[in-house]
């Protein structure tokens, strides 16, 4: 059993993974990092990255790697602000949900 991941939560997760690499990171690596921890289809992430890019929370640049261009994603300052808001919201949400489980543990 698993809990569904909402679009906002997925945005927050992707933003935090990209934020860990100040120089930028790329699609394959982001996908591997997230699917390593979460049960998520690999093809879910491109639309998320594209949306975050359009919302200017991420920027994209191409840099040569092994004789070809690789596309790198980098978080913007707006992205960092959004990520901070998500993190705060998440911690509030988690503690409110946790109140229901206090007795269980």
């Amino acid at each position: 059993m698993s809990f569904p991941i909402s679009a906002a939560l997925l945005d927050a997760i992707v933003l935090s993974v990209v934020a860990q690499e100040p120089e930028g990171t790329y699609g394959y690596k982001i996908t591997q990092q997230i699917t390593h921890t979460l049960e998520l289809s690999e093809s879910t992430l491109y639309p998320v990255l594209r949306r975050l890019q359009k919302d200017q929370l991420l920027t994209v640049y191409d840099a040569p790697f092994n004789g070809r261009n690789r596309r790198y994603y980098q978080i913007t300052s707006a992205g960092r602000a959004q990520l901070a808001a998500y993190a705060q919201e998440w911690s509030r949400y988690r503690s409110s949900i946790d109140t229901f489980f206090r007795e269980v543990e």
Partner: protein, 371 residues
């Protein structure tokens, strides 16, 4: 599935997307598989899932059809391809025309066979339903019929302009005094590519653009029948790449027709201002009542059984015959004809302001008068 097959399938499935979006997605997945490396390629493709699944996730993210700022859609490109092919052919004709006029040292009327490729602003909706939901004002909700879709629009909904931008199909106008609404019945179209929106400027627009990957369509099988009460349509704009238009007994203030491959016919057309631009196909109107009428025909005949109320009429035919009957007598008009053999001016009554200008390059010109 190989990398090549995966990417090819994905590209095809993303055909409904604007080109920039499609390219972005494809380059992402190319990059993704490059990074995975040849040794992990098969596993990476298997993990991504079928191309259908990958494409569906991308298509689901797309903004609805009313984002007019979106770049050119592939379907529009398919439409433009017609233009390019025809444009090429017409350029040859245009050169011929200019050459002929040049040789005669006459004033050549610039020939404008088909407008150049226009910047596209439409983006195809994934279905007629989504287009209906996303339009700026409340558009009509289509009703499914066994052969297609029917839209019913009240008079206010088409108050300013009815605009049709179709890749192919036959368009029939039917005047029915017993109805109060305007009905557009689309039969035999792929309704998935049919979109409708009511624009802020009062235009009710229907567009039908198929992705370029589609096999040649059944042009004859697609019929749009527009049933309207008398005198309800103000302005009608038709941009049709393949197919004929039958105007029936239409009465409208402004009419703009642009047909790449197809002809126009009418039993009786009453219009204040009409503009026809026909690349391949003629024009036959039994009775035309029009103060202002402009027709540019590249390949096709122009036959007007009776032209009434003409004040400023220009008919230009490159390859085809012109057969025109004018109301009244020769003395009512200033008639200017431009033919291969030269320009003739027949002045009617002094100071007549009724001007008829006919250009004919390779075809017969026949003018008669009747009351």
């Amino acid at each position: 599935m190989t990398r090549t097959a995966f990417l090819a399938a994905l590209e095809q499935l993303l055909a409904p997307l604007p080109e920039a979006e499609r390219k972005d997605a494809l380059s992402y997945y190319e990059d993704y598989l490059d990074t995975a490396g040849p040794e992990n390629e098969a596993r990476a493709i298997a993990e991504l899932g079928s191309p259908e699944e990958v494409a569906r996730k991308i298509l689901d993210e797309q903004p609805p059809a009313d984002s007019s700022a979106a770049p050119a859609s592939p379907a529009r490109k398919a439409h433009s391809r017609w233009r390019m092919v025809l444009g090429g052919g017409l350029a040859v004709l245009a050169v011929l025309v200019l050459f002929c006029f040049f040789f005669q040292h006459t004033k050549a009327t610039p020939v404008q066979p088909v407008e150049s490729i226009s910047p596209a602003s439409e983006i195809p909706a994934s279905s007629a339903e989504t287009a209906a939901e996303s339009a700026s004002t409340q558009p009509a909700v289509p009703v499914s019929t066994p052969d297609g879709l029917t839209f019913s629009l009240s008079a206010e909904m088409v108050s300013d302009k009815l605009s049709l931008k179709l890749d192919y199909g036959t368009i029939l106008f039917v005047v029915d005094p017993n109805v109060s609404d305007i009905t557009l019945q689309f039969d035999g179209f792929r309704t998935r590519y049919l979109t409708h929106s009511n624009k802020k400027d009062g235009t009710a627009e229907f567009s039908y653009h198929i992705p370029k990957y589609y096999a040649p369509p059944d042009v004859d099988g697609a019929v749009l029948t527009i049933t309207a009460p008398e005198n309800i349509l103000h302005e009608v704009d038709i941009d049709l790449a393949m197919g004929d238009v039958d105007l029936g007994t239409l009465s409208v203030e402004e009419l703009d027709l642009e047909l790449a491959m197809g002809s126009v016919s009418a039993d009786s057309l009453t219009v204040k201002d009409a503009d026809f631009n026909l690349a391949m196909g003629g024009c036959r109107i039994d009775h035309l009542t029009a103060p202002e009428f402009d027709a540019e025909i590249a390949v096709g005949d122009c036959t007007i059984g009776m032209l009434s109320g003409a004040r400023d009429v220009n008919i230009s035919v490159i390859t085809g015959d012109t057969d025109l009957t004018l109301e009244g007598s020769a003395s009512d008009y200033t008639l200017v004809t431009n033919e291969l053999k030269g320009t003739s001016i027949h002045n009617g009554k002094t100071n007549t302001s009724r001007k008829i200008s006919l250009d004919s390059v390779t075809g017969d010109l026949s003018i008669s008068y009747a009351n």
